[in-house]
Amino acid sequence: MQWFLNLSTKLKIVCCFSLMFALIVVVIVTAYLGITATTQSQQELFRENYITSLDIVEMRADQNRARAELLEMMMTGDRSKQQALERDIQERSGNIDKNLKELTTAQKDDPHFLAALQELAVVRDAYRKTREEQITLILAGKSEAARTIGLGQQEERYNKIRDIALKLEQLEREQAKQRLAQSEQRARTSLVIFLLVGVAAIIISTAMTLAMTRAIARPLTEIAAIAERIAEGELEVNVLSSGRGDEVGMLIQTFRRMVANIKGHADTTRRIAAGDLSGVVTPQSERDVMGNALSAMGSSLREITREIIEGVNVLASSSSEIMASTNQVASGATETAAAVSETTSTVEEVKQTALVSSQKAKSVADTAQRAVQVAQVGRRSVEESIAGMGRIQGQVEAIAESIVRLSEQSQTIGEIIATVNDLAEQSNLLAVNAAIEAAKAGEQGKGFAVVAQEVKSLAEQSKVATSQVRTILNDIQKATNAAVMATEQGNKAVEDGVRQSKEAGEAIRQMSVSIDESSQAATQIAASSQQQLAGMDQVAMAMENIRQASEQNVTGMRQVELTVQGLHDLGQKLKDLVARYKV
């Protein structure tokens, strides 16, 4: 068997297929021969028995028809029809002659048949002659005579023709049966031969196939199974070596090399996977795609890892800085949120203030309106007061005149008092002089001295009285003077009052104008305050929005902080990860 295995696969396949081709040719030839014999016997059957039978049946049918037409000629009296029937009979007679001739040529090998046919031909000739006579009689109008001829001998002749034809038909049918049996026998024989040859071919083909399967398919299946395991990633496979020198053996050898190569690459990959990038992969040749790729991968991985390490270091430090910045930003955002919150509350307060100021402005406007009315009332009052001042001035002047008259009369009284005082003085002097004289008179003058004393006392009393009167008068005069002064001052005051009232009127008028302007201004202020309030409302809303945004900011910053923390952790993790790689 080893010699077969050592044959090249190409040769094996060629041998196998040649043998199978030869077997197929034998089978085809056998089948062809059988089928050809069967076809030949069928053709003979058709040509010699089936056609002959048909001719005999046709001849019999023509004979019957001709007889029927003759009978019809006898029956009918129509001449033209008789003639037409006669022609038809003649034609059918010709057909029968032609059939007889064909049969004679066809069955020239069969003497038995020929003899029967000869007898038929003789009988028919006699029949034909008699029929010719009948036709002549019929045409002559002697149908009855013709019928008479027809009976008897003619009838027998006709029956004989029919019997011979039937016998011939029977003969041919039996012959056909015989031939059919022969043909069946031959076909069975060829079928047996074909079966035997086919079975032999199948057995041989199966044996060849099994041999080929053992020689090629089984090792290939084994290798395919190993390849399947390799395809599934398993490399711990054992490919047994075989001493075969054919392509399968070569394939196994090459497969072993391939597996070893893949194992080497897998080890290299495993090392790289374990983080050892220091190993250098040497490609087996320039066409070693995988080796080249692994080599390039190792070098590029080294390069990439180096860059990644640098990048990760930068990332770690950057993430640390970002985290710090984010913390600051987050605290700043929190402070901003707090400030915004305070600002919002402040704006709310300002809004309240604006509301209050709006209300105040409104009330100020109302007050200003009332003030305008009050100012008008004040103006009228001032005018009335000016008029009143005028009246007061007149009365004060009258008072002044009265006081002046009073003063003059006081002056007169003073003069009178001076006179009285003078009199009292003189009386006093007189009393002193009387006392002096009384003293000079000595004892006699004592009574006079008493009188003088009394006079002096009177003088003193009158002096005291005048003095009191003068005092009173002085008081009156002082009072009068004071009254005059007061009146003058009053006059002046009234004048001042008039002037001031006029000024006050003017002032009130100007004030009224001012208040009018103030009122308008207050109305405008009220409107402005309203607008301001609306503006403050909008500002409050905006501040509310800002506050929400700021809160969202804070939330966002918290998330950013978390994210940055995650980034930082990621950076540290990456650093740890990268540290595992030996470059």
Binding site: D422, E425, Q426, N428, L429, V432, N433, A435, I436, E437, A439, K440, A452, K456
Partner: protein, 175 residues
């Protein structure tokens, strides 16, 4: 009601005071001095009535030129020309000017007669001689000469006789 009761009380008190006053001592003629008391520059002076002719209001004073400062001028006293002396010059009293109320005390003794200016005549009264105190040692010259004495009431009593007899008062000048 209160006022009337107060008034009544006051009157009753005044009466009680009047009744409680010691009666004047009935001194003898020789022991008492009758004087005319007058005011001069707010000081009370007095001159013995014996030397006084009368008192007269100072009216229509006519200043005399070419006379000493103490000669105030002359007045017409009922058709009699009377010279008026100003004692304030002698006593270094402040000059307060003159008014209608000024009086002239007419001093006379024998042939000598002149008027002395007084601001006001207070009264003619009696004072006991014993009340007169000695002159103040601080007063000298003419003031000491004219002074008769000072009472406890600080009434300066002038000696009318000495004033009248003083030759320095007599003016004899030719211009």
């Amino acid at each position: 009601m209160d006022e009337t009761s107060n008034e009544r009380q006051r009157i009753l008190k005044a009466r009680a005071a009047a009744l409680a006053r010691e009666p004047e001592k009935s001194t003898s003629e020789a022991e008492r001095l009758e004087v005319v008391e007058f005011l001069l520059a707010d000081e009370r002076y007095a001159i013995e009535s014996a030397y006084i002719g009368e008192v007269y209001p100072l009216k229509d004073l006519t200043p005399l030129p070419c006379t000493p400062a103490f000669v105030l001028g002359v007045i017409n006293m009922r058709g009699k020309i009377l010279s008026v002396i100003d004692l304030r010059i002698f006593f270094d009293l402040p000059n307060r000017g003159l008014s209608d109320l000024n009086k002239v005390i007419v001093l006379h003794h024998g042939a000598m007669e002149f008027g002395v200016l007084a601001d006001a005549i207070i009264a003619a009264r009696w004072i006991p001689r014993s009340d007169l105190l000695a002159t103040l040692p601080t007063l000298t010259e003419i003031r000491a000469e004219y002074l008769m004495g000072v009472t406890e009431e600080r009434l300066v009593v002038l000696d009318g006789g000495k004033i009248l007899s003083d030759r320095s008062i007599v003016v004899h000048e030719e211009v």
